[in-house]
């Protein structure tokens, strides 16, 4: 059984310098108290890093290792970090040291590529070779099931993967669970027996070929066996390919997830490019309109001068008009001596006539013509003024100017946004991202083809099997003593194979029932809701809460998710030979006092060694001490030295 002894961290997260937390090897619970952002999750990540070289952030995203080193140290130019984990497993003492250091020649690393991650494993003070070390670590704590031991209360996605057996991840997790629960013993026996059964069938067919009575059937069987062999090989090849493709799909998914942000940026950039083109077009067309309209802009400037000039000229026109009219009238009176005054219709007296003649001076034909020309000129000018007054549409111009300006501003804004994104994408290999996406899609298609191929091959094998069985039956009727021995062997293998085949299904079913029962038992101890009857398990070890009326509780709060996941962990620990410590970060964050109390009390029954990472309000020290009593093996604090420096100290109060 895996037991942690001590965790040494150096410049990891907020843990500046070299710091240690020691854990008791006696059964029980160690509690590490720390406020939010003090480094609780970092401690969990330190254990993860030691075993798997990975550090997880929000939403199960792997964090960039460059961001993990202590910031205060980095500010002083010291980069990189190390974790050392001392543990015991099956009476052997281990020390696992994993470090992340800047590459040779890199003084100021800026990305993960600038670092080298290395580890070595000591077993009983001897350093193991790399392959042996890897094998040991895989055996001691397989990564796929590490989530049941290193439990981050915030990362529930992992557990939800289980509920959905559709996902590849869900399938892998349930395979991992079955592996630790012993199923492979049976499946392996089943496979061995199948091969031997087929071998014995072949021997029998060969023997049958040797006897003229049974030769025909023997030949047919031999042919079917040959065909079966070919089909089996084909199936093996296809299933191997399929496994490879599925694993490729999973890693491409992982890669795409990492590049999700980049993909989003690329999309944004492409959208901006498109919008920029649209704005360009809009600006172009507005500009053309504006240019056309600006032909009349000069008139806009002249609005006031035109208005002033018009006023003056109108007065002029009036005067000229009056003069001309008077001149016409007088001229008419002068020309016609006997005429009457057109106004009063009275005859014009000679005295009046004399007065008229005196004032007409200057009204000769020539002078009148000139006045007429003058008037015409004034009128021509007025017409021109009038024409140009109306030509300048200031309001239209303004709208067009504003539109062009707006488009320009919009363009500039989007362009600078686009340039900003382009800068961020500078170091990105766009080509490789598109390739990853293309590879992913082609992998999915490939998987589809393979799955269909596998189904077809299985169908053919079934047909082959049934044909062989028919012939076998006929052969059995005919066969003589010399075939008896072969037949007995064949029948024995066949029975043994069927037995173990049935056993696989029965054992799986039994396991699930046991895990369900144990999980339900834990659940009843933890839940405070009396109407909950227990937990129900699905094919991939996902658990649903069951109401006492038999119905599933469909939606769960995050707090309930915690509780259920804990129950599964406990049940697995109860049923598996692989037992290990549970390290839980913020298990009670979403739970009320009642659940918290229940869980604290139940923890020692779930695993021999439990480490809790909590804050005071989440788990008041008094509550922990009261509920755990002698099972409380250690208390530690994460103490603040600065915003980016935390010290691990044993709790004294």
């Amino acid at each position: 059984m895996l037991q942690l002894k001590a965790l040494h961290v150096e410049d990891f997260g907020p843990f500046k310098g070299h710091q240690t937390v020691k854990l008791s090897l006696q059964d029980g619970v160690t509690v590490i108290y720390g406020e939010n952002m003090r480094g609780k999750t970092s401690l969990l990540n330190a254990v993860r890093f030691a075993f798997f070289g990975k550090v997880i952030g929000r939403g199960t995203k792997t964090l960039s290792l460059h961001k993990v080193g202590n910031w205060e140290q980095a500010a002083r130019g010291k980069f990189g970090f190390q974790v050392q984990l001392e543990f015991r497993d099956e009476d052997h003492e281990y020390k696992l040291t994993r470090s992340c250091r800047p590459r040779n020649g890199v003084t100021t690393p800026s990305s993960d590529d600038d670092y080298v991650v290395d580890y070595y494993l000591e077993k009983n003070a001897n350093v193991l070779g790399p392959q042996q070390a890897e094998a040991e670590l895989k055996r001691i704590l397989p990564e796929q099931i590490s989530r049941f031991f290193l439990f981050d209360g915030e990362l529930l996605q992992e557990y939800e993967d289980l509920l959905s057996s559709e996902t590849d991840m869900g399938r892998r997790i349930s395979e991992a669970i079955e592996r630790i629960l012993g199923v492979p013993v049976l499946t392996s026996a089943r496979t061995t027996l199948l091969r031997l059964k087929e071998k014995s069938e072949h021997r029998e067919a060969t023997a049958a070929q040797g006897d003229h009575k049974t030769r025909e059937f023997g030949n047919q069987l031999a042919d079917l066996h040959a065909q079966r062999q070919v089909l089996n090989e084909e199936l093996k090849r296809l299933e191997g390919e399929l496994e490879k493709m599925r694993s490729q799909k999973a890693s491409l998914e992982e890669a795409m997830k990492k590049k999700e942000r980049v993909a989003a940026l690329l999309d944004k950039r492409d959208t901006l490019e498109r919008l920029l083109k649209e704005i360009e077009a809009r600006r172009g067309s507005k500009m053309a309109e504006l240019q056309q309209a600006m032909a009349g802009a000069w008139c806009v400037l002249l609005v006031n001068p035109i208005s002033d000039a018009t006023k003056v000229l109108r007065e002029s026109e009036l005067v000229l008009q009056n003069n001309l009219m008077r001149a016409e009238v007088l001229h008419g009176l002068q020309a016609n001596a006997a005429s009457e005054c057109p106004a009063c219709l009275q005859k014009v007296s000679p005295e009046a006539r004399k007065r008229i003649e005196a004032s007409i001076h200057g009204a000769s034909d020539k002078e009148r013509a000139e006045k007429s020309r003058e008037l015409a000129a004034v009128r021509r000018k007025l017409a021109a003024l009038d024409q140009h007054a109306g030509a300048g549409r200031s309001d239209v111009l303004r709208i067009l100017w504003d539109a062009v300006e707006e488009a320009a501003v919009d363009h500039a804004a989007k362009q600078s946004e686009r340039d900003e994104i382009a800068k961020q994408l500078e170091s990105v290999d766009e080509e490789s991202l598109r390739k990853t996406k293309a590879d992913f899609e082609s992998t999915i298609r490939h998987i589809d083809v393979l799955e269909r191929g596998v189904a077809k091959t299985r169908e053919a094998l079934d047909q082959n099997k049934s044909d062989a069985e028919n012939i076998q039956k006929r052969l059995d009727k005919l066969a003589g003593a010399n075939l008896g021995a072969e037949r007995r062997r064949r029948e024995l293998f066949s029975d043994l194979h069927r037995l173990f085949d049935d056993a696989v299904g029965a054992y799986r079913e039994q396991l699930r029932k046991r895990v369900e029962a144990d999980a339900t038992r834990h659940f009843k101890a933890l839940t405070t809701e009396p109407e909950y009857a227990g937990l129900r398990i699905n094919d991939s070890y996902g658990l649903t809460i069951v109401h006492q009326d038999g119905a599933d509780i469909p939606v769960r709060s995050a707090g309930a998710e915690h509780v259920v996941a804990l129950c599964l962990m406990g049940a697995l620990q109860n049923n598996a030979p692989l037992r290990g410590p549970i390290v839980i970060d913020s298990p009670f964050g979403r739970l009320d006092r009642g659940h918290t109390r229940n869980i604290v009390r139940a923890l020692p029954t779930m695993s021999k060694q439990v480490v809790l990472l909590v804050y005071d309000d989440e788990l008041p020290p008094d509550l922990a001490r009261n509920e755990l009593k002698s099972k409380l093996r250690g208390e530690w604090r994460l103490e603040r030295r600065s915003a980016r420096h935390t010290e691990l100290v044993p709790r004294k109060d």
Partner: protein, 117 residues
């Protein structure tokens, strides 16, 4: 009137400024910009004068196809005896003034729409 100019031109010194005015003012042609400059000069109060050394750019027939511009100038600047010569002068002076103004604010907007925010 028989002595009035038949062509209108821009001095070498003003050529660059005119080009600048075309782009700053979003004009469709140099002629449009030149007319604008002329109007600006009138607005500033210029009513008479003559420019030497102008290099011919346009025929008066292109500048004033229907003769209305001449009538307009006669109305606005009655002292001038040769409207086209005056037009040429006003254009060149206007270009110079606008160049200075643009140099300071870079914008024709305020000239077009005075009092805008």
């Amino acid at each position: 009137m028989a002595s009035d100019k038949k062509t209108i031109g821009i001095t070498k010194a003003n050529a660059a400024a005119l080009a600048g005015l075309v782009s700053a003012g979003r004009f469709g042609s140099e002629l449009d910009a030149a007319k604008f400059a002329m109007a600006y000069a009138i607005k500033l109060g210029l009513t008479g004068g003559s420019t030497d050394g102008a290099e011919t750019k346009w025929n008066v027939g292109s500048v004033d196809p229907d003769g209305s511009m001449r009538s307009l100038l006669e109305a606005l600047c009655p002292e001038g005896a040769e409207p086209y010569r005056l037009a040429e002068h006003l254009m060149n002076e206007g270009i110079k003034s606008l160049a200075t103004k643009l140099g300071a604010s870079g914008d024709l907007y305020e000239t077009l729409f005075p009092g805008s925010p």
